[in-house]
């Protein structure tokens, strides 16, 4: 952006005549230099401190630009210009600069520990219950701010999660968009805001289309909405005669009163998507059942009994249809990422997203319909069973893959030679066969021995099996579901978990303070190391004090923590040595 330099008068107050000089504006600040070098009205202000700007109307007596720094009290820097061209140039410049500054996150860094948000406070309270704070901060190992610094990001993660959620459309139906009447005059006021306009566009595609068609070319936005509100008012007051009369005169107005053909189209398309074997023609009649119901009993809408004339085309927009449409729109959710400000951009973006979603749906719809038709009308007996597609395993050389056994000749592999040597003497395979066959002959001839086995051997096996069964029953750690911790007594478990958390906390600080650059960090590491040695000893105590049946699992758990601490100690020692040798 360029620098703006314009002649202007600076007025410390509106009533004062003003000091002539030059106003210089850059992207981040503006300065005023008076023509008279003796004047002390020099200004040099950063745009960051400017909250907004005001200006006098084109054609008014004074040509003013007021840069306000306090929007509530109205304090500001007032400049008077010679002509409107200069003023407007400056005004536009200030506008863009301020717009930019607003978009950028506020450059003022949030002051760290002085102000705590309630959420952060809550978070801290929660953590305090974990005792770590008391142990380390009050014990003097860590300072307050150090302790919380490592936890800060936890909180930040939470806040990010909270802001990322997209807000959907309001669930409230548009019927709530009612006119306000003041008691004195016959004036009816509708108030529209971007949110409502977005909703109207989403729920009434015909209005949306009409807006896109007419608004810049045929009529102004204001006229458009006035017409819309008029149509809405006529519909609402059930003034059907007046409505038809007006519609005949004004074709634009008629758009709003007519049945929405885009919606009808969409419904027809949706009907096509329904299971084709279903007879929708028969059910279509049911769509108007609600009309006859409302005929008889009347549905209360807006406090008026909706027993209107059904012959009238205009009143065919029924409550049920409105409700359905609204439901569909709300469920669809907010598909736009556009800021709800400018109506035109919203309308265009909405049209864009609609186009994308409906793109190529018509072309494929017919094909899909036929496809589904054939699926549903399929006669099982005449069809081949449908198979789930699978990728066949492609084996390059099946002969090689499957015929491993062919290679099973005599292979001397070191894998299975140990312990199985037949007394060093080479045993002929033929001989081996002969021996076994001879033994089988013996079995055939003599039958099996009686008793089958000696009672002592049976007892031995029995005892061995029993021992196997009982040992496997207490075999822990094989099942991922049951944790070793659960088998420990409650106190031991709690103590171990607490120590684990302490070790984790200390190590977090310990490793974060490397490399040691300041003497403060050095002192901190020494303190941390001492605290860690304390825990190390405490863990040893737990290991010794625990009952023998748990000792194994406890020592396994403690060992992990010891390993973590050992790594830290080792690092500390090696760094210590390095620094010693450097000093030497």
């Amino acid at each position: 952006m360029s620098i703006v330099r314009k002649p202007a008068k600076y007025k410390p107050a509106i009533k004062e005549p003003g000091i002539p000089g030059v106003l210089l504006m850059t992207e981040d600040k503006f300065a005023f230099t008076p023509n008279d070098p003796n004047s002390n009205a020099n200004l040099d202000v950063e745009f960051r401190s400017i909250k907004g700007h005001k200006f006098s109307k084109d054609g008014s007596k004074q040509i003013l630009l007021n840069l306000t720094y306090d929007s509530q009290k109205g304090g500001g820097y007032i400049f008077e210009f010679d002509n409107f061209a200069n003023r407007n140039f400056c005004r536009d410049y200030v506008g863009t600069v301020l717009g930019k500054l607003q978009c950028a996150p506020s450059a003022v860094p949030p002051s760290g520990h002085t102000s705590l948000s309630t959420a952060e406070m809550e978070h801290r309270m929660k953590l305090l219950s974990e005792k770590l704070h008391m142990q380390f901060v009050i014990g003097g190992v860590l300072t307050e701010s150090e302790f919380w610094a490592t936890r800060k990001n936890l909180l930040e993660n939470n806040s990010i999660k909270a802001t990322k959620q997209k807000t959907g459309l309001k669930n409230a139906i548009l019927a709530d968009f009612r006119p306000l009447t003041d008691g004195r005059t016959n004036k009816v006021t509708f108030s529209l805001n971007p949110e409502i306009i977005h909703q109207i566009f989403a729920e009434k595609p015909a209005v949306h289309r009409a807006y896109l068609m007419h608004v810049p070319s045929k009529m102004t936005e204001k006229d458009f909405w006035r017409k819309y509100c008029r149509a809405e008012y006529l519909y609402r007051t059930k003034n059907s005669i007046a409505a038809t009369a007006e519609a005949a005169e004004d074709e634009e107005l008629a758009i709003f009163l007519k049945h929405d053909d885009i919606l009808a189209d969409e419904i027809r398309r949706k009907i096509r998507r329904v299971d084709p074997t279903l007879d929708m023609a028969a059910d279509q009649g049911d769509d108007f059942v609600h009309l006859s119901i409302s005929d008889d009993q009347g549905i209360v809408r807006d406090g008026i009994n909706d027993t209107g004339d059904i012959e009238n085309e205009l009143s065919k927009r029924s409550l049920a249809q409105d409700l359905n449409r609204h439901g569909a729109v709300v469920l669809e959710g907010r598909t736009l990422d556009v800021e709800l400000g400018d109506t035109r951009t919203v309308a265009e973006a909405l049209a864009q997203s609609k186009k994308e979603s409906s793109f190529n749906s018509d072309a494929t719809a017919q094909f899909e319909r036929l496809d589904r038709f054939s699926h549903n009308a399929e006669i099982d007996d005449l069809q081949e069973p449908r198979k789930i597609p699978f990728a066949p395993l492609c084996i390059k050389d099946p002969q090689d893959y499957f015929d491993f056994q062919q290679a099973n000749g005599v292979r001397a592999s070191s894998d299975f030679s140990f312990g199985m040597k037949s007394d060093g003497s080479k045993m002929s395979i033929d001989e081996a066969y002969k021996i076994i066959i001879a033994e089988l002959d013996e079995v055939i001839k003599n039958g099996i021995s009686d008793p089958i086995m000696r009672p002592e051997a049976a007892l031995k096996t029995f005892n061995w099996l029993n021992q196997q069964v009982s040992s496997s029953k207490y075999h822990m750690g094989k099942n991922p579901q049951d944790s070793v911790l659960d088998s420990l007594p409650r106190d031991t478990k709690a103590e171990l978990l607490h120590h684990y958390r302490s070790v984790e906390e200390l190590l977090k600080h310990f490793w974060a303070s490397y490399p040691i650059t300041t003497s403060y960090l050095h002192a901190k590491v020494v303190k941390l190391k001492e605290a860690m040695s304390d825990i190390y000893l405490k863990l040893e105590m737990i290991k010794k004090s625990v009952k023998s049946e748990y000792r194994h699992s406890v020592s396994q758990l403690v060992q992990q923590m010891h390993q973590m601490l050992d790594a830290a100690f080792q690092h500390y020692d090696s760094k210590q040595q390095e620094s010693c040798s450097e000093e030497d």
């Binding site: 395993l393 492609c394 084996i395 390059k396 050389d397 090689d400 893959y401 499957f402 491993f404 056994q405 290679a407 099973n408 000749g409 005599v410 292979r411 001397a412 592999s413 894998d415 299975f416 030679s417 312990g419 199985m420 040597k421 037949s422 007394d423 060093g424 080479k426 045993m427 002929s428 395979i429 001989e431 081996a432 066969y433 021996i435 076994i436 066959i437 033994e439 089988l440 002959d441 079995v443 055939i444 039958g447 099996i448 021995s449 089958i452 086995m453 000696r454 051997a457 049976a458 031995k460 096996t461 029995f462 061995w464 099996l465 196997q468 069964v469 040992s471 496997s472 029953k473 075999h475």
Partner: protein, 303 residues
């Protein structure tokens, strides 16, 4: 796992079909023979045949199929359902019949032999073949009867694993798992990684008895129990399973190796191409040579 339609047919819960796979590797049995602590083949038969007899006696409808495998072949030895039609034998006559058939099988296996005539080490038996036979038989039972007995397989293995049978054995194990057939294993020689995995995967029991002269006690206590009763019983569980695999290229047992990312074939060395599915590992964009090696390296579970 019960996703096969055949499995939806009804088991008769208390009737079992026990397929016994017996390793009759003569080299193993003669080597045990010379060891003082262990049993001869005769003694083994003394303890083994009563197990078959007692399983048949536990329930009139129980069935037993005996499959034997040696060094060169494997085959069906005895099928109680076929014998029953001719008036099943029990007791000594039954023992004699089974032994006779085993002898015939041994003689046939001896004739099938090829290769060297003597060896100082024990040649692995054809476990994969007899496992496949057992599963085929069980599948036939599944398909031919509306109500079939609950099948299980008992492997009595002596000789060590043949790493070259790894693929075949693992395929058999997984098909057993798929058709929910338990594989029990009783190892008489060295611990077998194949059978440990088989029992672990299919939910069977793996035991390596300490006292071989009390084998019958062990067999009848653990392996005679039918599948339904096992849910009420505490059976011994192994402390750990040897999950080591054999590589596809050299058929050696490895604990760390390379795995094809397409077909999961295992290799002990890095190859340019997968020998099983032909996938090309040498991608042109792999400039850094160390990273793909590191990535494809995967530690096989070795508990």
């Amino acid at each position: 796992m019960d996703n096969e339609s055949t499995l939806s047919t009804i088991y008769s819960e208390d009737v079992s079909l026990m397929v016994v796979i017996l390793d009759i590797n003569p080299l193993f049995w003669t080597s045990v023979n010379s060891n003082t602590n262990s049993l001869t083949f005769t003694k083994f038969m003394d303890q083994f045949l009563p197990l078959l007899n007692s399983v048949l006696l536990l329930n009139q409808l129980n069935e037993i199929v005996l499959i034997a495998h040696g060094i060169n072949s494997c085959g069906y030895i005895y099928n109680s359902s076929m014998e029953n039609r001719r008036g099943g034998k029990r007791g000594p006559a039954f023992f004699a019949e089974v032994s006779e058939k085993l002898k015939e099988f041994m003689e046939a296996d001896c004739l099938h032999r090829k290769g060297a005539k003597s060896t100082s080490t024990i040649v692995p038996s054809l476990l994969s073949g007899s496992l496949s036979l057992a599963l085929c038989y069980i599948q036939r039972v599944f398909r031919s009867r509306p109500i079939y007995p609950r099948p299980r397989i008992l492997c009595l293995q002596g000789s060590p694993d043949g790493p070259e049978q790894y693929v075949a054995v693992m395929n058999a194990i997984f098909s057993a798992q798929r058709s929910s057939v338990l594989i029990d294993s009783c190892v008489l020689g060295l611990n077998s990684a194949f059978l440990q995995q088989a029992s672990h995967i299919t939910g069977g029991v793996y035991i390596k008895p300490q006292q071989l002269d009390g084998l019958f006690q062990c067999l009848s206590m653990v392996f005679a129990t039918d599948v339904q009763s096992r849910s009420f019983l505490q059976l011994p569980k192994p402390a750990g399973v040897d999950f080591r695999a054999s590589c596809f290229c050299h058929k050696t047992t490895i604990s760390m190796g390379y795995i094809c990312s397409v077909c999961l074939s295992i290799f002990c060395k890095r190859h340019k191409k997968c020998s099983t599915c032909g996938s090309d590992f040498n991608r042109p964009n792999s400039n850094s040579k160390s990273s793909p090696v590191q990535k494809s390296k995967r530690k096989l579970d070795d508990r």
